[in-house]
């Protein structure tokens, strides 16, 4: 079965090796400031993973879902409780089970997608967002009856060795994100992804070709929620270092939606580009505010302007490049390296 679609070109392998060397060797050896790890690289990888989840459901399957943060919360609290209550469960085991729990919840809340679409589905997924957060907030068991509302996440321990320094945590996340990204790329390229896209482009036609809508949509919801759940667990354990339901509110869902759309719907690298942009742009604005305007601009105005820029970009991309930044990147490559590969 070596068709043109399922094989990778030589340049794909080169890119992969370069990225791996960069991620596992160059960055840990050259980046010395903890700030870069804790405030940029770690949240970037976590949110990119969640954005891949959003890509699966929205970019590939065309279902307008707006509840990524809810599933992230489910994953985070599942992981917390698993490590707390199951003795001897390794961290990666807890991570996978949390993803599966999030996936199960995702299937339940994905059920309405069989009958509705567009903004109707968006409202149905909003129900999941508010409901999951409420359940975690109101039933003390999930928070281990902690009254303060903010619970410190346990340390990550793998084979008896604690991974608590920023570089260690970065490497743990990088391993997870690498494996899951390869999985996602392969799913998107294979028959699974082709079914998703067929449903996205025209569900009736897909159904008449023998693609089961029920199976494909629910599968997409499950996989999307799995990615969000794992991302949420990593996000809570490494970036927030605490578990609080408010951290996973509707604003985070919108943020992931923006990462997904600005990055480029239906692309995996778009998830990384979009997450990086949404995360780095405020940092850049703050830097400009502090160093160029020397604090002359109020911080609230800067954060408001950041919202305006995201909104404007959203509109501009919808008008001029609905495929997002990943497509811009593609165009750039085309211009500078004229058809070296493919």
């Amino acid at each position: 079965m070596s068709t043109a679609i399922s094989t990778y070109s030589k340049s794909d392998y080169i890119n992969f090796v370069v990225l791996m060397v960069l991620g596992f060797l160059v960055i840990p050896m050259t980046v010395s400031s903890d700030y870069w790890f804790t405030s940029i690289l770690i949240p970037w990888l976590c949110l990119a993973l969640a954005t891949i989840g959003q890509q699966v459901i929205m970019g590939y399957t065309g279902q307008l879902a707006l509840g990524a943060a809810g599933f992230m919360a489910a994953g985070a609290f599942a992981c917390f409780n698993l490590i707390l209550r199951v003795d001897g469960l390794p961290f990666f085991g807890a991570l996978i089970i949390s993803g599966l729990i999030a996936a199960a919840i995702g299937i339940v809340f994905g059920l309405p997608s069989l009958r509705i679409r567009g903004i109707y589905l968006m409202v149905a997924t909003l129900a999941s967002q508010f409901f999951i957060i409420w359940v975690i907030d109101k039933f003390g068991w999930f928070k281990n009856y902690d009254s303060s509302g903010i619970i410190t996440a346990q340390d990550i321990v793998i084979f008896g060795r604690p991974y608590t320094s920023p570089v260690d945590m970065y490497l743990v996340i990088l391993v997870v994100v690498t494996i899951m990204t390869i999985l996602a790329i392969n799913m998107a390229r294979g028959s699974t992804g082709r079914n998703w896209m067929a449903v996205r482009d025209m569900d009736v036609a897909a159904e008449s070709m023998g693609v089961s809508l029920l199976k494909t949509k629910l599968q997409a919801f499950a996989i999307s929620s799995f990615f969000c759940g794992v991302a949420g667990a990593l996000f809570a354990f490494t970036y927030l270092k605490s578990l609080e339901p408010v951290a996973f509110d509707i604003k985070l869902s919108f943020k992931i939606l923006f990462m997904c759309i600005l990055g480029g719907l239906g692309t995996i690298n778009g998830a990384f580009i979009g997450a990086g942009f949404i995360l780095l742009f405020p940092v850049l604005l703050n830097y400009l505010g502090n160093n160029v305007f020397h604090g002359a601009i109020d911080a609230t105005i800067i954060s408001a302007m950041e919202q305006v820029v995201f909104g404007v970009l959203m509109i501009v991309f919808m008008i001029y490049e609905p495929l997002g930044m990943a497509k811009l990147w593609e165009n750039l490559k085309q211009r500078f390296f004229k058809k070296k590969d493919n």
Binding site: I119, T300, V308, G311, V312
Partner: protein
Amino acid sequence: MGSEILFFFEVLVGGLLAGTMYSLVALGFVLIYKASATFNFAQGAMVFFAVLSFVGFMELGLPFFFAFLVTIGLMVIVGLSTERLVLRPLMNQSEDTLLMATIGLGYVLEGLAQAAWGVEVRRLDLGIPDFPIMFIADAIGIFISALDLTAGAVAAFMVISLAILFTQTKIGLGLRAVADDPGAASSIGIPLKHIMLLVWSAAGVVALVAGCLWGARAGVQFALVDLALKALPVLIIGGFSSIPGAIVGGLIIGSTEKVLEVYIGPFFGGAIEGWAPYVLAVFFLLKRPEGLFGEKIIRRV
């Protein structure tokens, strides 16, 4: 026993009247959807933008009525620029693309409002107290807030005037023609741009009125945007293209969420009104996807 029944009615009436506030937000939604088949996700942001600007103008020293007029002017400008900069370049795009563009528009409006007027919570005094009206309380023993009652009256007035606009005037005929088939409407000489401008301005005015009532109750603050999200379940229950639907949907959501909160909420630690409307909407969707008053959705392949 009697007092329990009275209390139930009090909860119910309070919920119904609070529901009309959701209806007002939903109304702006319906206006735009009827005329341009666009889900305007930015309606909540417009509510926030309008009322924050209104309060801001009053803080600058403008008298109440004048500030109201200036804000209406501002909302017309918002409508005008939305039509020019967002809708016109996106003409003939899919519904989902337009929806995402209006999400972006919402972000722009929220950001601009906060950049211009700041983020602190403001009080808005309409001169209508949010206290029970005593003579009603004395007469039938039900406590009804004057503000709720005003909201109900305003919503009724808005619905009647919009219904007249849509069914009795030439503009309304044009609006319905555009909603039906923009191409055919413009080919017989209905000015599409003017219609769009009119609709977006009307939605802006509705947003301002809704914002004033919400602001008087909950304070003028960012949380208004989240409150306005509850207009979505209202629309799903009522149907996206029906003005009476927006009202009925609002009443259903308002009363159900209050009754559930008061009678069922305590068993679960409260705050179920945060998600109850959405879950209710999902059940409606499964039973009647087009809403109570909406037109049946026919998709052609």
